[in-house]
Each structure stands twice: as C-alpha cells, then as structure tokens.
Amino acid sequence: MMEIMEGSHAVAHAVKQCRPQVIAAYPITPQTHIVEALADMVADCHLDAEYVTVESEFSALSACLGASAAGSRVYSATTSQGLALMFEVCYNVAGMRLPIVMTIVNRSLGAPLSIWNDQQDSISLRDSGWLQYYAQDNQEATDLHYIAYKVAEDHDILLPAFVCLDGFILSHTYEPVEMLTQEQVDSFLPAFSPYQRLDADDPISFGMYATPEYYMEFRYEIDRAMQRSKKAFSAAGKEFADLFGRDYSAPVEGYRLDDADTALVAMGSICGTAKDAIDEMRSSGRKVGLLNVRTFRPFPGPEIAKALSGVSRVAVLDKNISLGAKGAMGIEVKDALYGSGIPVLDYIIALGGRDVRKKDIAAVVDMAEKNQGDLFYGLRKEVL
C-alpha cells in the first residue's frame, strides 16, 4: 500500500515488521525519529519487543551484542558521534559473528560540530566487518532492512549489517513509500534461528582470546563470509523482486551508462540528483551516465570494473574524506579499475550537509572532461 511517510517512520515501520525481539538505541539527531517511533510502538503494544533504554551508544550496542548472543533478533540505529562511540563494540559484534542490523542515518563527524549529512560516519567503519548497504531513496531505505536481516542471519554469512540513509535528505523527508503488509514480510523473512547462543544447559563463551596461532584465521573467516555475502545479497534481492516487484539484487546499478563517456560513481541520495542532471545533459547531447553503488561492503570491485569498462573517464562523488589521502570510494574505485587505463577522478563533495544541485553535478562533469579532479568541490574561497 502506497503511503506518504517520513523516511524515519517508514524505516521504523519496516523494522517493526521484521519482528525484532530486542531494541537498544540512544536517540541522536538525525536518527531520533526512528527510535522514537519504535519506542512508541513497544509502549503501545504494537510491537512485542524489549526496548532497552540506555545512557550511551556504547551501552546500546553492548546491550544489542548480549541480546544477539543470547539468541534474539536485534535492532539498533545511530549516526555520527553515536557510531563513533560504538566503534569498539562494532568490531566485537562482527568478530563474534552476531547478525545485528543497525540503521545509520548518515551525518558528518565533528569537530566542527555538525548535524548535517555526509557519509563520513559509516565510511569510517568500513574496516569493521559490517555489511554496508546505501539507500538512494526512502523506498530503498525501507526495503533494504528486510534484505539486510535476511542476508545477515544466513548461517553461511552471520555478519552484522548497516543500512545507511542520508540524514535529513531522506530521514526527514516525506515521500511516497509502498509499505509491505506483515504477511508479506513474514513470507520473505523467516523467524530468527540463531546459529549458536548463550545457553546455561550448553555453556559457550563468545569472543574468546586468540593467540597469534589463531587470530589471523579468524579474520580470514570473516573476510570469506563477507565475500560469500555478495551471492546471498543478490539471491535475497532477487527473491524480494519476485515477491514484491522491486529489484535490489544488483550491488551496483548503472543509469544511462551504455554509451557514456563520463561515468559518475556515487552512493545514497545524491544519485537521485545525479540522475536528473544526467537526463538534462543527455538531452543536450552529452554522454554522461551514473553508477550507483548499493553495497559498499563487501566492495563490488569486479562489478564496478565490468560496469565501467566502456567509459572514457570516471568521476567519483565522495561524501567523505580520508584526511591525508582522498575520498574512500575514489580510492577503491581506482583500485577496481587498476590496469584498465581509465582515469578515475575523485571529488569530495557535500561534506557537512552542503547542498548538491543539478548544476553542481554538471560542473563536476565539466571538470572531469577537462581532467581536473582529486579536489574538494565547491570550496568557498572567500572564507578560506
């Protein structure tokens, strides 16, 4: 059923339909509306879950870790500084192979303090062993939660997952969203069956100490599971498409790439703006296309190389900066295209919520065609 909903509420509704048994979260802008809505649902008996109110994000994810180890389906949500405070627990969750799903409402990291959107927070956790899925719009942000649970809880994968949506741009925006019914969700997402859990009758410890003789093999196992999750994501996306008609099976999605000279590569809501800008540029005869990266972890390197094999140049729009290097996605796209001879230009754009309009996308394409790249786009010279 199509409804006009705020992004946060659509996500909260989707999470409710996934039937989490334990939710532990700490409110932080711009994630607040999601956990507020879920707390309401629990308080009003619409959702049969344990809502744990905690005093910090570190406690929130720690509570989630314990609940997941005890065999519950678990949910949390955070952003920016909250995710930074969860840093230590994030690595532990992935290492203990606990399939927690967490919504990241992307926001910039301080200092300077900013509540506005960029993707620095989740990108900073890219090495932690969490799957990372990025949504272009609220429909995708909603649907990716069902898929994330399905992939994460697969006994062949057992990895936690971030579902990332751009703060304010998506989370606080009202858009038409087609919500599934509870029966539809139940037909797609089975009840959680833990692979192993804390049990007094069959004692087990999680997160044991590993000597140098064992540690590396554990990390290798996590990496293998990451690689295997590509297939699981495609399979879950395909099943979702067969059941409900919306297809998220591809880790990367091309838009008007077939005969493109310049290809933009981006993640999240900026893709919507880029598509409109590309339509305008196409109508004036310029050959521009877009590659939307849906799964940043596992990184779809071969898929990106295949999708971009025919273009003359690639312009990566990075809503993050690995300070002292470049944008994280620019670095990895370059790695994926290594040896192909296709130049990859990186543009740090829209940090701290700076608006991106169609003219900005067009300006980036102009720069790329002149081979000017690897720069911060749109710096205000007058304040430097």
Binding site: G95, M96, R97, L98, L158, Y195, Q196, D202, P203, I204, S205, F206, G207, M208, A210, T211, P212, E213, Y214, E217, F218, E221
Partner: protein
C-alpha cells in the same frame, strides 16, 4: 582443530591453549630434594603440575615458564633453566 564461528569456546577448550614457542625458562624438578609438600601444584597458575607417585610432574606443553613453582618451593627442589630452542 577447526575454528568455531565467532571465536566461541565451550568448556574444556583451554586444553587447546598450548604454550607457544616463546617460553624462555622452564622448571626442572629434583625428586631427591622434593619434600612432597604439594606447594608447586597449588601455586601453578596454569594448573599444569600434577602428582604422580607422590611427586610433582609438570606438563611442559602448557607450562609458561613463570617460575612461581621455583619461587614457592620450600626445599629448593625446582630450578628454572633456560629453554633450549
């Protein structure tokens, strides 16, 4: 030993935790001097000294070479010796 998923362990797994190649000293027990008081068995933090025919017998697979047995022995029957690699 196959790795468990998620670095989990069940009771008894500590026996897999053998001493690596890094041990520097190991205790040598002199049964002539031993007064059979059992102090070394009690004090060993690894629990790897057991009693056989009333005498202490260390299991060098698990001994970390900490030297507590030698320090506690009232009869001077335990001597720490440099590990031969």
């Amino acid at each position: 030993m196959a790795l468990g998923v998620g670095c989990t362990a069940r009771p008894g797994r500590a026996k897999d935790n053998k001493t690596g190649s890094w041990r520097v000293f190991k205790p040598k027990f002199d049964s002539e001097k031993c007064s059979k008081c059992g102090m070394c068995i009690t004090i060993c933090p690894e629990g790897c000294i057991r009693e056989e025919d009333e005498l202490p017998v260390p299991d060098y697979d698990y001994c970390k070479g900490c030297g507590l047995c030698a320090e506690e022995c009232p009869s001077g029957a335990v001597e720490m010796q440099k590990e031969e690699k």
